[in-house]
Amino acid sequence: MITNDWHRRLILLILILPTIHTGCRKDPADEKGMVLRQALLSKPQTLDSGNMSDVYSMMVGGDIYEPLYTYHYLKRPYELIPLSADGMPEVSEDHLTYTIKIKKGILFQDDPCFRGSKGREVTVHDYIFAFKRMANIKFINVNWSGWQNKIVGLDDFHEYTRQFKDEYSVDYSKEVDGLLALDDHTIQIKMVKPYPQFISALADICLSPVAQEAVNYYKDEINSHPVGTGPYRLNKWHKGSYLIVVRNNNWRGEKYPTEGEPGDAEEGLLDDAGRELPFVDAVYWTIFKQQQPAWLSFQKGLLDSKSIPKDNFKEAITSETGLSEEMRERNIRLVKFVDPSVFWIGFNMKDKVLGNNLPLRKAISLAIDRERFIDIFFNGHHVAAHGFIAPGRDSYDPEINKCGYSRYDPEQAKLLIKEAELICGDSIAPLKLNMPGSGTFFTQYGQFLQRSFEDVGLTLKVDYMDLPTYMEQTAKGKSQLFASSASAVSPDSLDVLGMFATKNFAPGSNLFFYSNSEFDKLYEEGEVMFPSDQRNELYRKMERMVMEDYPAVFLNHRVSYVLYHDWNRNVKPHAFSFGLTKYRKIDVEKRNKYKDLLRSIR
């Protein structure tokens, strides 16, 4: 019989349903242990070291994997030191053969893919496997483009893999001449031609040792089952939401550095010198898709540190001296560091209007007030770009500001536009700029540029698009003007110079379609030169050569700001290196008192 208690049943159902799938899971890392809580502003794409290219993956992956080399945590200028390698490589006279020893007794983390689930010892074959895997055409790899035509025989291997059905059926036993295992702990690598950036390239996580067992065991799921040798291992990863990494008990162990740059001792960065690493037992990475909750969480002490994203810059820093009163009350600290990067408005040199119209390009450059731009968007904390090699890189030209490539002179710009109109034969048609996003920062950036263009009598139409569309359009040369930026992955400047080489035409990195035979000749030369004053001179010459042609308006170099709570110890940002968690330390007691502090402020 139907009774009137169906709604009571409904309520019961509501109570029962959810318990079916979420029995309260207990966390592996208890609150009592030392847990570092970090924010990621986007989800990591993968934790497969072989296919990592985005910053967020590397931020997490850096703690799990160990490439051969890395940068010193404290020393500046940045210095490469061995990580899993045993000492720096022996390089042959002709700079073509590298002999590298690796540390003995490095174990992979324990994982079911190994016999007995015990991590086995790492040999050089695991490094060779990483190289070969990258070359595997069936394993579509983001990093391959950078290794084409570098190592002897690797390109042949790339072609060889074409015949197989899929990634896993490729027979890796085929030898590559350039990758030789002299014994289990020594590898000899032969280059096609000198590659001066080779050692810093070996510091890239994508060349960390990979266990073939793991790849064969997990297949596609290797993305979310990293098997590494680093101080931490993945405990849980909920895609798009959070990651937990915990101490890897198989880690070989390391000590906190005993020397740094001057001032580090005063900052307390050497307090832990010589102590056994790592300090933190687990790291919780939370992925924030919206800015507001990330910011609120940091303020409430639920995150230990947070970088200030460029579009929210003004929130924390209100005065020239740095932190706002509100932040200081909460014992929040600020650390800033030069992040070698450059932002620009690029011109498509293939474009009819811009391509053969130097006065126009120059006029646009003169029309933009970089200081004002930095004032508005970064509270005056960024550095105006006079060239494209950023401060902090080894061939940065301290004299370049004297060349006046980044002058603001709207009057002269107007004159130049008259000249440009003569070349054009008509008044300048409205220009179109592609913007790689439609968020608040981008629209405001766009508005600023439109205004600057208007002031000198040009019309700019801004097309705000999503990143993938932008990338596709730019790579296909369909954009006219485009806003873009580049961050350095190593102190070497060859990568930014490469953006102007004819052989790197888009879809390569030369999105400007800038072509200059003289420059190309110098580039060929510079590619094989090892760091030296002579090379720096060459690079600077090349930089000026490009600047004279105005293929882009270079705007600013970023200075990054990181906020952290005072219980978070040993915080020193690093421009190139990942895997810094092992140095971090948390004063748990202090953190627990933060709630009281907040209450007292309120």
């Binding site: 966390d27 579509i140 483009s145 084409q148 959070y242 999503d466 993938p468």
Partner: protein, 313 residues
């Protein structure tokens, strides 16, 4: 009944086909090449791009061929083998991980909305024309008029941050309930307005009918008349509307999940839209549409339980 269900399931086929065709046209025509550029890395050569296109099958004919892209698309869907997302995670794994969280968010929200709004609607209909009815209606209309995003942003800022009543953001250290409490609450508040208004008109249709008068004439109490006689008769529009509410729940969870960091499928979908991961979007669309068809079927079957006059023969 089984014959009816089978007939309805067969009726699903053209619809599912339509959905697949639409998603294919929408996304494969536009989106395929973007993925190629993404996978190619920093400084690729055109040859590398072609290699990738070949490996992903983007060089095959679009529709008119045995192994055309469309056939692959359909094959993937009907075998529930959706392939990999741009981040190389199998899409099916994404679903498996996300569904429990989404359910933990939407199921309480859903029942919260239905139970509250039906009860309020019954009361409003019973006291129709009085100040109680008017205030309920006004609150509902006001509630519907307040923008959804403002609910979320103000809610997160004031309720969670300023007054510290709920969690600001998802944290794996806490139970899903403490994480989901505020989004559920916001979802319910947002959802009630329109529903109460609709259910009230449904109830008004019914409350003037003869059987209600009869029930009162029998000497039954108001509670029994409203919650037994009235409610059971209003079930059909309620069930129908409940199914219609599901897309809004889906919208709800999309933004709520993204603001509160709940790792459900709504967040995954929004992510995919932002990163233009078309294989994920089309899978989600497909899955949701299948769910819709099934829910529609369930609601039709429910009609039979709610109303003896309906038969499936």
């Amino acid at each position: 009944m089984p014959a009816y269900i089978i007939r309805r399931l067969l009726y699903m086929i053209p619809i599912v086909f339509g959905v697949l065709l639409l998603t294919f046209l929408l996304f494969n025509v536009v989106g395929a090449d973007q993925a190629v550029y993404r996978l190619a890395g920093n400084n690729p050569t055109p040859e590398i791009l072609d290699d990738i296109r070949h490996e992903l099958g983007y060089d095959k004919p679009l529709i008119f061929s045995i192994d055309s892209q469309f056939v692959t698309h359909v094959k993937k869907a009907v075998t529930f083998n959706f392939g990999k997302a741009l981040d190389k995670e199998p899409i099916i794994d994404k679903l498996k991980n996300g569904v429990p969280y989404s359910l933990a968010l939407t199921v309480p929200m859903f029942f919260g909305i239905v139970v509250t709004s039906v009860s309020l609607a019954i009361l409003a209909a019973f006291y129709r024309g009085t100040w109680f009815d008017r205030i309920i209606l006004l609150i509902c209309v006001a509630g519907m008029s307040f923008p959804y995003l403002s609910y979320i942003i103000f809610g997160q800022y004031f309720i969670a941050y300023k007054y510290d009543l709920f969690q600001i953001y998802f944290s794996p250290q806490r139970s899903i309930w403490s994480n989901a409490a505020l989004p559920i609450l916001i979802g319910i508040v947002v959802g009630i307005g329109g529903n109460v208004r609709f259910y009230r008109t449904v109830m008004l249709d019914e409350i003037n009918s003869g059987y209600i008068r009869t029930a009162f004439a029998k000497g039954l109490s108001t509670r029994v008349v409203l919650f037994k006689h009235l409610l059971k008769n209003a079930m059909i529009p309620i069930i129908t509307n409940t199914v219609l509410t599901l897309p809004y729940l889906c919208l709800g969870s999309l933004l709520l999940e993204s603001f509160f960091g709940i790792p459900g499928i709504g967040g995954i979908t929004l992510d995919a839209i932002e990163s233009r991961d078309f294989s994920v979007i089309s899978t989600m669309t497909f899955i949701f549409s299948i769910l819709f068809v099934i829910f529609n079927l369930i609601s039709d079957v429910c009609y039979a339980f709610a109303d003896p006059r309906i038969s499936f023969d």
